[in-house]
Amino acid sequence: MNRRNFLKNTGCLAIGFSLQRSFIDLPSPMFQELPQSIKRHPHINAWLEVLANGQVRIFTGKLELGQGIGTAIAQVAAEELDLGMNKVEVVLADTLRTPNEGYTVGSGSIEQSAMAVRFAAAAARQKLLELASQQLGVPAAQLNMQNGTISAVTGNKSITFHQLLNGKQITDKVQAPVNLKPKESYKLVGKAIPRSDISRMARGEQYYIQDMRFPGMVHACVVRPPAYDARLQELDEKALKKNIPGILKTVVNGSFVGVITQEEYQSVKAQRWLQQHSKWSAGSKLPAGSNMIKYLKTLPGQNDKVAEKGSIPDSNAWIKAQYYKPYHMHASIGPSCALAIYDNGRLHVWSHSQGIYPLRESISKLLPLPVDKIDVTGVPGSGCYGHNGADDVAADVALLAMAYAGKHVRLQWTRSDEHAWEPYGSAMIMEAAALLDDAGNITAWLYELWSDTHSIRPGGDANNLLAAQHYATPLKESSRFSSGANRNSEPYYAIPNQRIEAHFFKGPLRTSALRSLGAYANIFAIESFMDELAEKAGKDPFTFRLMHLQDERAKAVIRKVQEMISNIQLPANTGIGIAFSRYKNSASYCAVAAQVHVQPATGAIEVQKMWSAIDAGEVINLDGIINQTEGGMIQSASWTLIEQVKFDAQHVSSRDWVSYPIMRFNQVPEVEVAVLNQPEEKAMGAGEAAQGPAAAAIANAVYKAGGRRIRHLPMVPS
């Protein structure tokens, strides 16, 4: 039923008329599940406000990370309210203003926040039409809504949203069923609406947290230990003041060291001076030079049976392979940054954390200061797609601001701070084994993985903040053995007998969530292994995958990629590899093909071109999905080819872009993306779908190009 029919059926709506009841009275009531975020924050004005200037302001608890969520959310709101894009502004995560939507993670912002806004905006539309009908004395069915004005279809009666509400906001609860705009009449959703924030970036307007300036603002640095658990033994504050001008305050709590200075460059110099002139204990040794696979498998840990079905037969015919992925860095181009001021008993923090509400709780416990005395405003930082130093630097600056009340304190981590102290994506070992029958079907599948945690996000506790671990009485990091390592560890293929097991270790480096979590490594392993099995079965990689898939949407993305590469003429020593996954086995479908050249003499690998077909359900912003998928392939190509966090016995030695190189322009492949729109299916995030298949497609292409079967990453160790 579309909106117009709904209005015809319910007739003229009066204020206070229960939408719920009217639907129950209808001949065929329909069931509608409200988004979780709406259930938690049911009032329309939690999501939407009408402003005096005719604009509509939308509130989201999610943060812009570069994924374009602000634009997607504005599109959804503008669509339901028949507004131009320029009439909608979006306020991002802020504990003072927006709903608490937890973390901006797991490609969930479209499913959660954008859908919440869709329902809130649709409910607001309904209410505005009711009010207009009453005020204008025109049946709602004969009203037209356009760009913030509601007019009678005939005659010249009209009224604006603002006039209707007269400065008030719509405080009604969103109640199912909400009459959503019929998708066939969409004008904005599904289109490649350009992001308006990109021109702000191009013009050098104030946009990032790094660009925030306040009158009288002071700068700061932190000095980290030379090893994870090294403790401070001696620090000469007087000598520091004598040697470095502009020192305003030195804060020492156990091994947490921070310095506040007048000028930013003075902070840089203070940090360098203290690094050279302070004494620290040695700290525990890291397993430098070890064979990491052997080493990590010896670590004690917990085991988890992820899945088991059918029975696993004894056989001599098991085909086996072992895969490895090293520690990877988020490696944002801009190191983490935060600002804070403590004034009149209140602390205000500005942060690019992906979860400002949990961060507020964590800071509250760290300081300690009651939660209701702390405000945290989310401001975009440099992209990282995961849990990097954002939360830690916010905690650092909160501590410093508390010690230097009345001034805005800005803390910019250095490149070395970020590289050496951010939590990495865990190293992982994956061992796969399979049995094939005579027809080439996989009859049994064994899969084991070894991994450290994929989440130490602060989550409301103080323990996981770096500063807390450097306190005089250090708090212990509490790694949750989250399901992140298991993500996509179950094959999406129809295999009758399977056993999937996970082993969780506490490894030598600090780890947390990095884009796609365990899915990257698991899909690298599974999809490399699928090609190895296809060869044994005498099938081509497309046929072999398709014969093990039952989900038509999965088959469709694979066939689309097959079509995209069908006319490619391959030069010598060049190969194309493919791979597929459905992210989390429940979200976006993505197939990737990679064309790789391998130089016979040297084995040098060049990824020339990558293609992807993606089905993220209902498309909200077409270009957003394309951009995420292009970027996902390129980022994954960089991880896969050259990235690995290095360490010596003392600490991480990947401290800059020479010791942790990422892809530069001369290595970047051409990319091409096809989006399969499914307007009637659930809208899903697209930011983490491509990484896993991209890695395996490259490995499969290297093999096809006459290179080795590469099972241990990175492919090109530096």
Partner: protein
Amino acid sequence: MNTTIQLQVNGKKHTVQVDPATPLLYVLRNQLALNGPKYGCGLQQCGACMVLLNGKAEPSCMLPVAAVKDRKIVTLEGLIQNDNEMHPVQEAFVQEQAAQCGYCMNGMVISAVALLNENPHPDDTAIRNGLQRALCRCGTQSRIIKAVKRAANSK
């Protein structure tokens, strides 16, 4: 130890009181409140802090401010024309939506402007070489290459 230094930035003369050893980047961002050049590494490795120095793209994060007194410095802000119109390269980045987080965009745009000044119609390899010093983590390089081609064709 602060000294008075005169700088020529975005076509205007500025007088600042700073430690002459301060890298240009900090002076542009903090004394002149410019947002274009970004802190990325402080090591001249990533390109986030690029500015045009007499028309050439150079990192500003290690360059002492005292060393650039006589140079014409242009930042992203300085590429905007008086009528608030973007430079063709900036416009091309917007048209191609050549960003995700956009933090690297300064280095990309500045490098591209310098490249196109020298070579108005660069091929793919020349574009890649021209942008080689600038890193992007979100993987938007393919769009950035398209944006530079679009800017070259718009001239």
